[in-house]
């Protein structure tokens, strides 16, 4: 019995130490296990932070930077995986999210729905990320279901590289944003409204000289025929535009609508949409309408100036559209300066400079392969040089 007692005395501390160590190790392991369980149950913490990016020309664009923190549990070390960032609109119903489209192809799938995947190799079976920046969501390029204040849900998942079903980590968050753009569920109605405005404006232009020519309405019909071709609701929309045109013509004929005030109010509506494409398309059509009967009356010329001014169109764009569609022969009795397009209010030197630049422009067109363009260019050069000579001689006399 003595040797047992001696053994206990000698080994006791070691045994006790072993017992304590074992307990402690189990506790650490338990802690680790506990932490892992906690971490995986908690998932990824996704954080969104508003920011802007600037292009070379100094224009700023709003983005939302997505950061993630948390644990990732992979089946093995060096596991090929990917961070997958998805967006959905939960404004109307959190349990019925709607897709969010993105106009940047690198941030969207084949259908245009926002989607960003970032590949990574998960180094360990259990890895952790701490406020890792993932991507920047381009707010300026997103199209939600509706315009206005929307709540977007950002979902981040870490999955196996080739298998979206194998989820190693998951997290989500939301942010709100005011969208100025028309939502995709509103797009159809919005576009149809634009068609109405453009059709009515073009008709108002055709009535500017007090007479609506069949050739002018044909130009409008052909424009919409081409624009609406191929759409799934092509017939419906063409019928709608035709109906609008009929009603508008009737109203103009009966005096219910005045072309001048129509032009102003429609331009104001178009301007409110803040879409330069619509404004430019509308003006282009107006010029084509005016050119349809090969004559530009003074009232039509004034109406074009009014539209250009009301829509705030750049002078260079207006001149381009005029060059393409209006020929000198269409103008009758216009003042030489107005004919050549000299802007009002220029000084003598500025007029000469304008004429020089117009001369340079039209001179290059005398060699155009289209004989009509070449002929128009020759005629323009004659008028420009005549006007330049008058200005120079007149200046000398003064």
């Amino acid at each position: 019995m003595e040797w047992l007692f001696i053994a206990a005395i000698l080994l006791g501390p070691a045994i006790i130490r072993w017992i304590i160590n074992s307990f402690q190790e189990n506790s650490v392991e338990q802690q680790i296990r506990s932490h892992v369980r906690e971490a995986t149950e908690k998932g990824l913490t996704v954080r969104c932070k508003r920011d802007t990016i600037e292009t070379d020309d100094g224009t700023s664009y709003p983005i939302v930077r997505v950061h993630v923190s948390g644990a990732i549990l992979a089946p093995r070390d060096n596991q090929p995986g990917a961070f997958r960032v998805r967006l959905s609109d939960i404004t109307d119903a959190a349990d019925e999210p709607s897709p969010v489209f993105c106009s940047i192809s690198d941030c969207s799938d084949e259908d245009g729905i926002y989607e960003v995947d970032e590949k990574l190799e998960i180094p360990y079976r259990m890895s952790a990320v701490d406020d890792m920046g993932l991507t920047g969501i381009p707010l300026f390029a997103l199209v939600p279901p509706h315009k206005g204040r929307r709540t977007l849900q950002v979902i981040v998942a870490v999955t196996a590289e080739g298998d979206l079903e194998q989820v190693f980590a998951f997290g989500k968050t939301t942010f709100a944003h005011d969208f100025d753009c028309v939502g995709y569920l509103e797009m159809r109605d919005h576009t149809m409204e634009q068609e109405r405005r453009v059709a009515m404006l073009a008709l108002a232009m055709s009535a500017a000289d007090g007479h609506v020519d069949r050739r002018e309405t044909t130009v409008i019909r052909r424009f919409f025929s081409k624009t609406l071709a191929g759409r799934t609701d092509e017939d419906e929309r063409k019928n709608r535009v035709s109906e609008i045109m009929r009603e508008t013509l009737q109203a103009i004929k009966s005096g219910d609508k005045n072309p001048d005030s129509m032009i102003r109010s429609l331009c104001s509506e178009i301007l409110d949409t803040d879409d330069p494409r619509v404004a430019q398309t509308a003006y282009d059509l107006c010029v084509q309408v005016v050119a349809a009967d090969d004559t530009v009356e003074e009232e039509e010329h004034d109406a074009l100036r009014l539209v250009a001014s009301e829509l705030g169109l750049p002078e260079g764009f207006v001149r381009e559209v005029h060059d393409r569609n209006l020929r000198l022969a269409m103008f009758d009795d216009a003042e030489e300066e107005s004919l050549v397009g000299v802007p009002a209010g220029l000084s003598h030197e500025e007029k000469l400079e304008f004429l020089n630049s117009e001369y340079r422009k039209w001179r290059t067109r005398v060699t155009h392969s289209d004989a009509n363009v070449a002929a128009e260019a020759s005629l323009r050069l004659e008028r420009i040089t005549k006007l330049r000579r008058e200005l120079t001689d007149g200046h000398k006399q003064v």
């Binding site: 494409r277 393409r324 290059t364 005398v366 060699t367 050069l381 004659e382």
Partner: protein
Amino acid sequence: MSHPAIGIDLGTTYSGLAAINPAGKPEIIPNATGERITASAVFFEQDGPIHIGQLAADAAGAYPDRVVQWIKRQMGDPDWRFRIDGNCYTAVDISALILKKIKKDAEIVLGPLRHSVITVPAYFDEVRRKATMDAAKKAGLEVLRIINEPTAAALAYAFTGQANGTVLVYDFGGGTFDVSVVEIADPKTIAVLASEGDHQLGGHDLDKLLASHFAELFNAEKGVPLLDGADEAIRHRVIAEAERTKRTLSSMPKREGIALNWGNHWINASVSRDKFEQLIADYLVRTEMLVEDALSQSGKTTSDITGVIMVGGSTRIPSVRKLLQEKFGQPPLKTINPDEAVALGAALQAGILMEEKGLSNLPSKASQSLRSLSLRDVTNHSYGTLAVGESYGREALRNSIIIPKNTPIPCSRTESFLTRFKGQTEIDCSITQGEGDDPDFVNTISNGSLELPPDRPAGCEIRVTYSYDANQRMSCEFLDVDSGRRKQLDLDVAQRSQHSKRNKVEIDEADLKDLVIE
């Protein structure tokens, strides 16, 4: 056996040929009838041979339907045809007839000829230049180079030591107007800084203007429109009378006794130089604007110009000389006959090129003087491609210039573009010529397409390189950087992409040979 180097000025109203003599100097070679310049007119005599030269020009009044004149204005027009006696001629065919006649006449003096330099207006585009080369080849000439007319004239003046520094070449010919600003560092080193031109502006237009004035005088006196509905014979006679008047007024203040008739109606008209100058004032303003343009593009002002060289018959008009004198504060140079300077310069260029190629048979001293000449020209138009870019706040197809006008040649420029769409599998490769970014107003002179690999993101780089060599030939490469796929387009085969509706057989050189009068 080597042939002499020759230069040909293929003009709208007159053409000339010069050759390098054994002393290494250029000299004009008269035609078979002793004229130093040959009228660029072709007369298809009924049941007879084809006549080229002054005889053809004189026949225009009597046989307007059988004479072709001012063919240079039709060069590059693929639709233009002259149909006569069951044959059909293009502009290239007619020009080839003129060149063949000039060549044949010169061979009487020089022996067989082969290598030549042909001049064109500085503002001629690629299609017109190619048409000129085609005409030369049809006439049995091997074209060493096509050079610009003002450049050739500058070369003639520089070589003879009659001009140096920064000179302005004012080339006002029968059918075209060109202006070039040229740096002549020394008689052997010439560099063009800028060129401008208008190939629808020339002495012939002044003739037509004067002819219209005659018609007004006739109508005022007889109440009969002289030119409206007139047959071609009358029109030709009136224009010919206008041309004679124009020439007379260059040396006399008035021309009287201008006989004009229509049917039984006759008048004797008169025109003063003042009246003529008033009539042509707008045209002179056009030339002045082009001069200002060329100066601006070369970065020079009127005070930088050390000499003004006058080239072309229309520079004989006193008001032209007066305009240049007032503008530049110095009398313009015309020590070399304005009708001959271009051909002389072209011969010099031919001599230089033949020396470079080892084709010359000149004595060593003459050879040496040519070998040391250096001539640098510039592009006459801007060349670009069509790409989608931002235009007034929206995306639109725009012309993107790659080689701007007046770039010294040879040159090579590269611009990068990006694919637009995810999964894009093709890009259009268009080569444009013209200024400005509106695609409606530039000419597409060549196009093709480049296939791209599938399933790629948007924004892949496409590198476009345009190279323009000293022979004014351009090659264009569209390279997809990632895959290495490329599309090469060479402008030796430049042609107008529209209007290629040739439905008649062109006349071959063998046929030409049988028809030309001996």
